[in-house]
Amino acid sequence: MRETESQPQAERSGEAAPVDRRTFLSQSLPVVPTLLAVLQGGQPEKPQQTEARQLAESRGYKASEHNYAMGIDPARCIGCGRCVEACKTENDVPRDPFYFRTWIERYVVQTDGETTVASPDGGIKGFARITETGILRTFFVPKLCNQCANPPCVQVCPVGATFVTQDGVVLVDEEYCIGCRYCIQGCPYGARFLHPVTRAAEKCTFCYHRLVKDLVPACVEVCPTQARVFGDLKLRSSPLSRFMRHNKIQTLKAHLNTEPKVYYANLDGEVS
């Protein structure tokens, strides 16, 4: 490589004035693509399809044709915690009371304007009797990873271990994650945690392994009041599209420009 560009340089410098910088750069420019090609060497030109993906595509599943999102109607949530339980079971989330992929918060707004938010054990065993007095209004809000279209956690990952898939789900590569916790710090929704065994970042995957099998996420499957709605934003006939047409939609911390894809209907102003 280097010979081809340095040859004329050496000849000319031998017979006349040395090559100036401008000539050198302009003459060596054509070599750059070849150099890059060599650096890329070893990378296969054509994507090698792994078995799992071939299998998924043979069933007619094309990731690029979907853009998954979730709708939540807090007015329907009864705080039974079945979603939290189902999530922990389905995804083998550690049972300790501080690891959650999804959880339920209880908001209590009092007449003096004081608002308290509680989520004892993520709401997995339901909620104890309210002890506050002078309650103006109180309600439950289910929370989970917002599967942002512009995710800050992906931006801060130094190794490319967390990413947005073609179908719009933010995933973590458990094997590639170095456990630096930048993404946990970067998430404004507190949706990530470090798995105590794998030492890799963990988060809601929208039950990705269920989506590719045409099933809804476990939390949506078990929600007894349909407070959670799941669907495909690219499909007008999906339950989610209907949900979004018929409700006033808000997202959490919209001012952060993360473009969350968990849509809340008629959300109370106290929720953030």
Binding site: R2, V38, P47, Y176, Y208, H209, P224, T225
Partner: protein, 242 residues
Amino acid sequence: MPQQVPRLLIVFGLMIAGLVTARRFLIPKTFGELGHYRAAAVDAIAARKIKYAGRAACGACHDDIAKTHAGHRHAGVSCEVCHGPAAGHVEAPADVRPPAPRERGQCPLCHGYDPSRPTGFPQIDPVAHNPLKPCISCHNPHAPEPPRTPEECGACHGQIARAKAVSPHALLECTTCHEADKRHKIEPTLSRPSKPASRAFCGQCHAPEATSAKEIPRVDMAAHGEQYVCWQCHYPHFPELK
């Protein structure tokens, strides 16, 4: 050619060769295939096993229960909400048997009274409601009956009823001012009772020309209150006295 040029070229050559080899060994095979990540990771996550089979899988064998279930108030409640994850049962029906919770603690998870729950969601006080009796001795969880709503409005709207009872409006029936659809007793938040829409409604008793009893306070409807409906300022369930 000066002596140092070929030497430098060798050094550069070695460095480039080293870089190429290092890339080949350090970068995972599928990295960069779909984006700045390992495409194989997506496949690994997609290949995980499911634990919740989904209600369609349950209905495939238990079609009789699925049919009963679909026609009743628990139609939206998936089988696995109560019976737990059943993917194992679908694979080996005889070996793995999902539990059927019969104890009293199960139902109050959803139906125990909690003020944070949406209005109208059927709730009981687990301590006072037929203590120690299993729920299923009276209620069929696959085909529950909606609870009978009390006839009188005060059963739910106690605070209003108590305030009205000691107010000058005590003798007025709720239906004098409100029209409630039958649906309001089943889905209170979806079908709300009406409120008087005009000033003339209150004027039936409170206008100077009204034929009502003399001791009822009168107000000049034309001059008082401008564009507001009366109840926007006066609380009709406990109106202030003159």
